[in-house]
C-alpha cells in the first residue's frame, strides 16, 4: 500500500515537471488545435451518422451514398484505452 501511494506521488511530480518544461503555446496555436479537435470530432460524428443510416435504414435511398462516404472517411478511430487500475 505504501509503495503504491509513493508511485502515484512520483508520477504526479514527474508530469508537473514535464509540463513546466514545455514551450507555452500561442493563442493561434491553441485555436488551431481547437479547430483540429473540432474537425476530428465532427468527422467522427459524420461517420456515426452515416453508420446509423446504413445500419438502421439499409433500404433508404440515402444508404448507398452514405456507404460511399463511409468508404472515403474510413473507420471510426480506435477508442483510447482506459488506464489500467
Amino acid at each position: 500500500m505504501i509503495r503504491t501511494i509513493a508511485f502515484i506521488v512520483l508520477a504526479a511530480a514527474l508530469s508537473f515537471g514535464a509540463a513546466g518544461c514545455k514551450k507555452k503555446k500561442t493563442v493561434a496555436e491553441m485555436q488551431a488545435e481547437k479547430v483540429t479537435v473540432f474537425r476530428q470530432k465532427q468527422k467522427v460524428e459524420a461517420i456515426k451518422s452515416y453508420t446509423a443510416l446504413v445500419t438502421k435504414y439499409p433500404d433508404s435511398e440515402f444508404a448507398a451514398k452514405a456507404q460511399e462516404r463511409l468508404n472515403v472517411l474510413g473507420p471510426l478511430p480506435a477508442a483510447t484505452p482506459a488506464p489500467k487500475k
Binding site: 460524428e45 438502421k56 435504414y57 433500404d59 452514405a66
Partner: protein
C-alpha cells in the same frame, strides 16, 4: 270541399196521363190537325229533339188558341223548353198555365204541375250560371220562394217530397246549409217509405260533410260538432250502400265516402294524428276503389226503370190509375237520371283521380305520377280542370323527388297552358325548394323560381313562404343583406296585414339565422305588439323567450313564464318549458330547472322536447355529482321511451357514469343489454364500438402480458376475445356504418397487443386481416376497408408493400370513406406516384361534391372529405416540385385554412404552408407553422418527423448549423419509425458534419456570456 256532382232530379210528370183523352177523330177536321200536331210534337220529344217539340207545341197553341188542348200544349211546351235548356221560355210557358183562370176541373192538375215545375226550372237555370254570377243567387232564391209557394199550396201533393228535396238542393247551393238540413230531415221523416227518399238522405249526408269541412277549415281548436257531422254523414252514406236499393245512388255514395274521408283526413295534422290520418286515407282509398264503372251503373239504372215500368203496366192492367200515374212519374224521373248517367264521365276515372290525390298527400310520389300519367295517356281525363290538376301533381311529384329534368319539363308544360292558375300557387315554391335540396344544391336557380312565384302570385297563399324560402336561399349564398332587404321592402310596400305579419315574422327568422339574435328579439317584440290576436303574436312571444334563454337566461325567465301564463295550452308550451328549464339551469337555479324539466316530461310526454328534458335533468344531476339520481332518470327515460331514437344516448350516458365510478363491468353490461334488445338499431354499431373499446381497455389495464401472473393473463385474454368479438360483430352486422373504421383500428390494436405478447406473429396478424377481408367478398367497400387497415399497419414499416395492398384493394367505381382514400393518396404521394394520387383525390372530390353550396353549409361529411381533398391535392401538387404546381398547392392549403380551420388536415396544411413559406424565404413564418405541428398532440409521427426535417433545413439555410445538425440527427432518435425522413435526416446531418470536418463550414464561435451586472446597477434599473 265536397261537391254535389248530381244534377237535380227533375220533378217531371207526364201531363198526358192527367188529361182527358178524348178521341181525336171526334173533334172534326180542325181537331184532327191539332191532334196530329200533338202526336208530331210527342214523337219529336220522344226522339230527344225537345227544341223542335216545343216549337210544334207553341205553333199548335198559336194556330188553335181556343182548343181545349191548349193548356196541355202549353205545359208540354214548357217541359220541352225545360229539357232543351231554354229556361226562360219554359218559365213563360208554365206561367201561361198557372195564369189561366179558366182551366176546366179535369185539367186542374196542370196548374199544380206547372207550379211545381217553375222552381225546378229556376233551380236548373241557376245551375247553368257561373258560380260567381249574381243572377245565379237571384235565381236560386227565387226557386226557394217558388218551392215554398208550391209546398204551401199543395202540402199533400205527391210531388211534395221531390219539391222539398229540390228546395233543399237550392238552399245547399245558396250555402244555407242549416236550412237545407232542416228541410231534408223533415222530408225523410215525412216520406220514409218513398222509393226516392234516399236522394234526400244522400243530400243530407253531403250537406253535413260540407258543413263539417267548412267548420274544420276555420277551426283553431278541436271541433266535436264538425266531427259528429262527418260521422253522421258517413253513416248516412253507408246506410244507402247497405240497403242496396239503387246502384246509381250507391255508387255516388261510395264516391262521396271517399271524398268525405279525403277531406276529413286532410284535417288530421300533427304527429299524434299520423296513424289516424293514414287509416282515414286508407278507408278513403277503399271507398274510391269500390266505385262501379259507368257501364255497370247504366245497366243497373236501366234495370231499375224496367222494374218501375213493369209495376206501371201491372197497375194499368188493374186499372189502378193513381198507382199507374205514380209509377209513370217514377219512370220519367229515373229515365232522366239515366240520361244524366249516360252523359257523365265514368266515375271510376274520377275515383282514380282522387286516389292520386291521396297518394300525393301520403307522399307516395311514384304512385301519384304513375296513376296520373296512365290516366292522361289512356285519355281517361276529359275534364280540362282535371287535366290541369293531373299535370300539376305530376310536376309536384317530380319536384318533390328532385327529378329536376322531368320536373322542369312538366313545369314548363304547365306554365305554357295554365300560367298563373291559382291551383299552382305553391308550384314555384316546391320547384325552387328542389334546387335547395342536397341533390341539386343550386340556390341561384331556386331564387329564380321563388321570384317567379312572387311575381305570378303577389297575393297568393304561398307569398310569405316564397319570401322566406328566397331569404333562405339568399342566406345560403351569404346574401344576408339581400334577404333582409327583400323582407323589409315587402314591409315598406304597405302590404296587407296578413302579408305584413308574415314578412315581419320571417324577418325575425332571418335575423335568427344570421346570428342577429338581439335584433331578432326586437323584431319579434314588434310582431307581438303590432299584431295581437294573430298566431304570429303567440309564435313571436315564444321566440322571444327561447332566444333570450340563450342570450340572457335571467332575462328570459320572466318572458318564458309570461308565455306560459298567457298561453297555457299553446302549441309551444313544451318548447317553452324546455327553454325555461335551460335558462333556470344557466342562472344557477338547478332545483327550479329540475322541476321544470320534470313538469315537461310529466305533462307533455309526447312532445318533441320531452325526451330531451330527461337528459337535461341527468346533466344537472351529474354536475351536482348526484350520480344515483342521474342513473335513475336515465332508467326512467328508457322505460318511458322504449322506442326512442335517443335510447342509445341514455345507455351511453349511464355507461359513462358507471365507468367514471370505476364500474367498468356494469358499463359493459349496459351496452351488452342495448345490443341484445336492439340488434338492428343503427346505434347498436355505436354500442358495439364502445364494447370493443371497453374490453380493449380492460385488457390493457391488466398490464404487460409477459410479466403478469397467470390469473391476470386469463383476464387479459378474456378482454382480447371480447373486444375482438364486439369489433367483428360490428363489422359483420353494420358493414356500411361509419363506426367500422374505428372498429378496424381497435381491432388492429388488439392484434398488435397479441403480437407484442408473443401470442401471435406478424404473419398471423396479416393472415387474420386477410381472412377477415375474405369474409366480405360480397361487400367490396367493407373488404377494401379491412385491407386498407392492414395496409396502414404496413405503412410505416414498408410503404411499398402497403401501397401494393392498397392498390389491390382500391376500386375506382366504389365510394370509399374519405380517410381511407386519403391513406391511399398519401401512399401514392410517398411512392412518387403523384398523378395517380391526384386522380384519387379528384375521385374523392367527385364522390363528396359541394354541389354549389358554400363549404361551410355543406353536410359535415362533405366538409371533412373536402378538407382531405384540399390537403391531399395541395400536398401532391407541392410534391410535383415545379413552381406553378407549388403555387397551386399553396392556394389549396390557403383554401383549406379558410374554409375548414377545424380539420385535422390543417396540421398537414401547416406543414405544406411551411414548405411554401420557406420557398418564399419567409423563414420566421415557416418556423411558426412547424412549431404548430410539433406542439399538436394529434400530429402523426410522420408529420412531426417531416416538420423537424424542414426545421433543420431552414436552420441550415440560415447558417445555424449546430441547430440544423441537432435536428437532423435527432429525427432518427425520436421518430425512428418514420424511416424515410429519419434516413434523410441522418444523411443531411452527416453531410453538414462532413462539411464542418473539412473546414468548409467553420467551427462555430462560442457566444460570449454576458458580463455580470453589478447588483447595485440591477437595483437601479
Amino acid at each position: 270541399m265536397l261537391i254535389d256532382r248530381r244534377i237535380p232530379a227533375a220533378i217531371v210528370c207526364l201531363a198526358a196521363s192527367t188529361l182527358p183523352s178524348g178521341p181525336a177523330s171526334a173533334q172534326g177536321p180542325a181537331a184532327t190537325i191539332d191532334a196530329q200536331m200533338m202526336q208530331q210534337a210527342e214523337a219529336l220529344a220522344a226522339a230527344g229533339d225537345h227544341a223542335k217539340a216545343a216549337a210544334v207545341y207553341e205553333d199548335l197553341v198559336k194556330r188553335f188558341p181556343q182548343m181545349p188542348i191548349v193548356p196541355e200544349a202549353n205545359f208540354r211546351a214548357g217541359y220541352a223548353h225545360y229539357l232543351a235548356g231554354d229556361y226562360d221560355a219554359a218559365l213563360a210557358a208554365f206561367k201561361k198555365v198557372i195564369d189561366n183562370r179558366n182551366l176546366p176541373a179535369e185539367q186542374a192538375s196542370l196548374n199544380e204541375l206547372s207550379l211545381s215545375m217553375v222552381p225546378q226550372v229556376l233551380a236548373s237555370k241557376a245551375a247553368k250560371l257561373p258560380i260567381n254570377d249574381p243572377a245565379r243567387k237571384v235565381a236560386l232564391e227565387d226557386a226557394v220562394k217558388q218551392f215554398d209557394t208550391y209546398l204551401t199550396k199543395f202540402p199533400k201533393s205527391d210531388e211534395a217530397e221531390s219539391a222539398s228535396y229540390s228546395k233543399a238542393l237550392a238552399l245547399y247551393q245558396l250555402e244555407k246549409f242549416d236550412l237545407a238540413m232542416d228541410v231534408l230531415r223533415k222530408n225523410m221523416a215525412a216520406f220514409p217509405q218513398s222509393p226516392t227518399i234516399q236522394d234526400s238522405q244522400y243530400l243530407l249526408a253531403l250537406t253535413l260533410a260540407t258543413t263539417g269541412s267548412n267548420a274544420l277549415s276555420k277551426a283553431t281548436a278541436p271541433d266535436p260538432v264538425a266531427e259528429q257531422q262527418f260521422d253522421e254523414s258517413e253513416k248516412l252514406l253507408r246506410d244507402i250502400i247497405t240497403k242496396n236499393l239503387n246502384l246509381a245512388l250507391i255508387n255516388d255514395a261510395q264516391f262521396q265516402i271517399g271524398e268525405l274521408l279525403l277531406a276529413r283526413g286532410g284535417f288530421m295534422t300533427g304527429d299524434d294524428n299520423k296513424q289516424k290520418q293514414a287509416d282515414t286515407f286508407n278507408k278513403a282509398l277503399d271507398a274510391y276503389r269500390s266505385v262501379a264503372s259507368k257501364d255497370r251503373v247504366v245497366a243497373a239504372q236501366k234495370a231499375r226503370i224496367a222494374f218501375f215500368k213493369d209495376l206501371m203496366v201491372k197497375a194499368g192492367v188493374a186499372k189502378d190509375v193513381p198507382t199507374l200515374q205514380k209509377y209513370k212519374r217514377l219512370v220519367d224521373k229515373e229515365t232522366e237520371k239515366l240520361a244524366q248517367l249516360e252523359g257523365r264521365t265514368d266515375q271510376t276515372q274520377q275515383a282514380k283521380f282522387k286516389t292520386g290525390l291521396i297518394f300525393f298527400t301520403q307522399n307516395k310520389m311514384d304512385e301519384t305520377r304513375v296513376l296520373y300519367t296512365q290516366l292522361e295517356n289512356t285519355g281517361a281525363i276529359e275534364d280540362e280542370a282535371d287535366k290541369k290538376q293531373a299535370l300539376y301533381f305530376v310536376t309536384m311529384s317530380y319536384a318533390a323527388q328532385s327529378v329536376a329534368e322531368k320536373a322542369i319539363e312538366k313545369y314548363n308544360a304547365f306554365q305554357s297552358t295554365y300560367k298563373g292558375d291559382p291551383i299552382a300557387q305553391n308550384l314555384q315554391l316546391i320547384v325552387g325548394a328542389m334546387y335547395l335540396g342536397e341533390k341539386l344544391n343550386d340556390p341561384n336557380k331556386a331564387i329564380e323560381y321563388f321570384n317567379e312565384g312572387l311575381q305570378l302570385y303577389p297575393k297568393g297563399k304561398a307569398f310569405g313562404a316564397l319570401v322566406l324560402a328566397r331569404a333562405g336561399a339568399q342566406i345560403q349564398l351569404k346574401k344576408f343583406d339581400e334577404a333582409e332587404k327583400a323582407l323589409k321592402d315587402t314591409l315598406a310596400q304597405n302590404p296587407s296585414k296578413e302579408l305584413a305579419v308574415d314578412a315581419e315574422f320571417y324577418l325575425g327568422v332571418v335575423q335568427v339565422q344570421t346570428g342577429k339574435v338581439k335584433e331578432a328579439v326586437e323584431t319579434f317584440k314588434g310582431v307581438r305588439q303590432k299584431y295581437p290576436g294573430t298566431p304570429q303574436e303567440e309564435q313571436s312571444f315564444s321566440q322571444i323567450g327561447q332566444l333570450l334563454s340563450r342570450l340572457d337566461p335571467k332575462a328570459a325567465i320572466p318572458e318564458l313564464e309570461g308565455f306560459l301564463s298567457k298561453y297555457p295550452k299553446g302549441n309551444d308550451v313544451p318548447a317553452i318549458l324546455m327553454a325555461l328549464g335551460t335558462a333556470q339551469g344557466a342562472s344557477g337555479q338547478a332545483d327550479a330547472a329540475l322541476a321544470t324539466f320534470k313538469k315537461l316530461a310529466t305533462e307533455h310526454p309526447k312532445s318533441e322536447a320531452a325526451p330531451f328534458s330527461y337528459f337535461e335533468r341527468a346533466k344537472l344531476l351529474a354536475k351536482a355529482q348526484k350520480y344515483d339520481e342521474c342513473l335513475a332518470v336515465m332508467k326512467e327515460f328508457a322505460q318511458n321511451y322504449p322506442d326512442s331514437t335517443a335510447l342509445f344516448q341514455a345507455a351511453d350516458f349511464t355507461a359513462q357514469i358507471l365507468t367514471s365510478q370505476g364500474k367498468g363491468q356494469e358499463a359493459i353490461a349496459v351496452y351488452d343489454d342495448f345490443v341484445a334488445k336492439r340488434p338492428k338499431d343503427p346505434s347498436t354499431a355505436d354500442a358495439l364500438l364502445k364494447l370493443n373499446a371497453l374490453w380493449k381497455g380492460y385488457t390493457e389495464s391488466q398490464g404487460n402480458y409477459i410479466v403478469i401472473e397467470a390469473a391476470k393473463r386469463d383476464e387479459w385474454k378474456k378482454g382480447i376475445e371480447k373486444s375482438t368479438a364486439a369489433a367483428e360483430k360490428l363489422i359483420t352486422e353494420f358493414p356500411e356504418s361509419p363506426q367500422v373504421a374505428q372498429a378496424l383500428s381497435n381491432l388492429m390494436d388488439v392484434q398488435r397487443l397479441q403480437q407484442s405478447a408473443k401470442l401471435k406473429t406478424e404473419a398471423e396478424l396479416e393472415t387474420y386481416f386477410k381472412d377477415l377481408a375474405q369474409k366480405f367478398a360480397d361487400k367490396p367497400g367493407t373488404q377494401a376497408k379491412v385491407l386498407f387497415t392492414l395496409a396502414s399497419f404496413n405503412f410505416d414499416k414498408d410503404k411499398t408493400k402497403a401501397l401494393e395492398q392498397m392498390t389491390a384493394a382500391y376500386k375506382p367505381d366504389l365510394k370509399f370513406a374519405p380517410e381511407d382514400l386519403d391513406l391511399y393518396g398519401q401512399a401514392l404521394i410517398d411512392g412518387k406516384k403523384i398523378d395517380e394520387a391526384i386522380k384519387v383525390y379528384e375521385k374523392l372530390n367527385q364522390d363528396y361534391p359541394l354541389k354549389g353550396s358554400s363549404p361551410k353549409t355543406a353536410p359535415r361529411d362533405v366538409q371533412e372529405a373536402q378538407a382531405i381533398v384540399l390537403a391531399g391535392l395541395g400536398k401532391a401538387l407541392q410534391e410535383k416540385g415545379d413552381p406553378a404546381d407549388k403555387e397551386k398547392g399553396g392556394k389549396m392549403f390557403a383554401e383549406l385554412e379558410a374554409n375548414y380551420p377545424w380539420s385535422p388536415k390543417m396540421l398537414e396544411v401547416n406543414y405544406g404552408t411551411a414548405l411554401a413559406l420557406r420557398d418564399q424565404k419567409k423563414d420566421d413564418d415557416a418556423v411558426k407553422r412547424i412549431q404548430e405541428i410539433l406542439k399538436a398532440p394529434k400530429a402523426s409521427s410522420e408529420l412531426r418527423a417531416k416538420g423537424m426535417l424542414l426545421l433543420a433545413k431552414i436552420h441550415a439555410d440560415a447558417g445555424r448549423f449546430e441547430l440544423a445538425i441537432d435536428n437532423f440527427i435527432k429525427i432518427s432518435v425520436f421518430y425512428g419509425g418514420v424511416p424515410k425522413v429519419a434516413a434523410e435526416g441522418l444523411w443531411l446531418g452527416g453531410q453538414l458534419l462532413e462539411r464542418q470536418a473539412s473546414g468548409e463550414i467553420p467551427m462555430p464561435t462560442p457566444t460570449p456570456k454576458p458580463a455580470a451586472t453589478p447588483a447595485g446597477d440591477a437595483k437601479k434599473k
